[in-house]
Amino acid sequence: MLIEARNIALDVPDMSRVVLLGRRPKLRILNGVSLVIARGEALGIVGESGSGKTSLGRTLLRLYRPSAGTLRFDGQDITQATAAEMKPLRRRMQMIFQDPQSSLNPRRSIGAILGGALTLHGLDAGPRAISSILDRVGLPSSVTTRYPHQLSGGQRQRVGIARAIALNPDFIVADEIVSGLDVSTQAQVLDLLKTLRAEMGLTLAFISHDLSVVRHLCERVVIMKAGSIIEEGATAEVFSSPRSPFTRLLIDSIPLPEIRPGWLESSRD
């Protein structure tokens, strides 16, 4: 198992409470989450807004320190690892963000953005290395001198993917990476991710609110609600025979592009 999370909990200070003296009360946003991701596998993490899926993704990357439980990466316990201990592992775990507009520095060229990741880990950041990375995500090397605002949304997301794969990672957390894109661009980006997965043997945690996209890309899926996993299994099975009524509701709520009389009126909510 590349990723092993056992009984992970995550507490954050409850900012909605007014505290005059003493410690601010904690709010538990992840509760007893256990999951494993095998090497080369793509796991979908699905839930509605506020379900904790993004917090879980960031915890798996040890961007957050779990408040309880244990987290292992490639057999190594990283639950309490320090920044210095994490540094060599950082190259092997990467993230693709939802919004490439705000996750790419607007003042740096695409070449500088990709080069920065490489130099940080002492790798070759020459023009040839940059072009070969761009080539893998289907971008011409001419974008090296461009700035993020000069690219289309789909191209920017490709840069986001390029930055994540530049270091040849083992594990990538992709957080809602196609939700802002047009359907045709979405299909292209998903295609690219599939190809890269096959070529590089990537392990993927694919966070999405869109069950259809997860169905397309991931072999296994976990469904989250209020900070806990309420269902998990092979994607095809979860879709054909969901055990939890909430999963059933999520699937039934997706509008399909065909006339379904009575769909709008039917409700389990």
Binding site: S212, H216, I254, L256
Partner: protein, 283 residues
């Protein structure tokens, strides 16, 4: 039945080039028409043109927008103001930014009723309460006194739907009203819009990129690409037998959980090249 909205040969451009290329569409009373397309298709531009809120950088170069027989484009601003917001109303995309964060929900809901319909404060308040009831908000008295940030996204969108219907408009333009919502909430909001639209016999112009949403809520649809109409007609017919290659490509690119192998197919580059040729011949 005659058309409530009749757009004829509408073209618009910005400094960068054409935005709309001879768009014609008409919507009958009580009908729900979808404007479907990807970004840059011109669907929001059409909606903004009808609402008279085009950014100054976009100029209409030809065509007309008839609302119940009157051309909105040649109407003086004073007459236009009487129609917009009253006869033609908007359900915006983002409930977060469309409400004033520093004013109570009830006061914002009462603005239109007091300023446009001329109701006094007490009457406006009771009408507002009724509207919140209509959009199935529980404890409307409490919600009236809330600030927007104290409500969930779905609740805020319900408030905006109530606001849009508050002056009994003949036409409602819904600009991607469910894009920012979770699927379960999206379904509730779609159901609500459909229910309110049927009850008030409102004509609906529904802007969306989601063919699934179109299928569930719109009687007819107009498929747009690069500011030009690709295909237009009955939703059921188009979805069952799309005539235009672009409509077929859009359907193939849409995600479908029930047919994962036949969905999410990228639009072929050759088709995009062909579409570019087709639209450049239209302006």
């Amino acid at each position: 039945m005659s058309a409530v909205i009749d757009i004829r040969d509408l073209s618009a451009r910005s400094a960068a080039g054409p935005i709309l290329r001879g768009v014609s569409l008409s919507v009958k009373a009580g009908e729900a028409m979808a404007l479907v397309g990807e970004s840059g298709a011109g669907k929001s531009t059409i909606a903004k043109a009808v609402l008279g809120i085009l950014p100054p950088a976009i100029k209409i170069t030809s065509g007309s927008i008839l609302f119940e027989g009157t051309d909105l484009l040649s109407l003086p601003p004073s007459k236009l103001r009487e129609l917009l917001g009253v006869r033609i109303a908007l359900i915006p995309q983002d409930p977060q930014t469309s409400l004033n964060p520093s004013r109570r929900v009830g006061d914002q809901l009462m603005d239109g009723l007091r300023l446009r319909a001329g109701l006094d404060k007490a009457k406006a308040a009771s009408k507002a309460l009724g509207l919140l009831n209509d959009v199935h908000i529980r404890e409307p008295e409490r919600v009236m006194a809330r600030y927007p940030h104290e409500l969930s996204g779905g609740m805020r969108q319900r408030v905006l739907i109530a606001q849009a219907f508050s002056l009994n408009p003949h036409v409602i333009i819904a600009d991607e009203p469910t894009t920012a919502l979770d699927v379960t909430v999206q379904k509730q909001v779609l159901r609500l819009i459909r229910e309110m639209q049927r009850e008030h016999k409102t004509t609906l112009l529904f802007v969306t990129h989601d063919l699934g949403v179109v299928a569930q809520i719109c009687d007819r649809m107009t498929v747009l690409y690069g500011g030009a109409v690709m295909e237009q007609g009955d939703t059921a017919e188009i979805l069952a037998k799309p005539q235009h290659a672009y409509t077929r490509a859009l359907l193939a690119a849409s995600p479908r959980y029930d047919r994962p192998e036949q969905s999410l197919k990228p639009v072929p580059d050759e088709l995009i090249a062909e579409l570019q040729r087709e639209i450049s011949s239209r302006c």
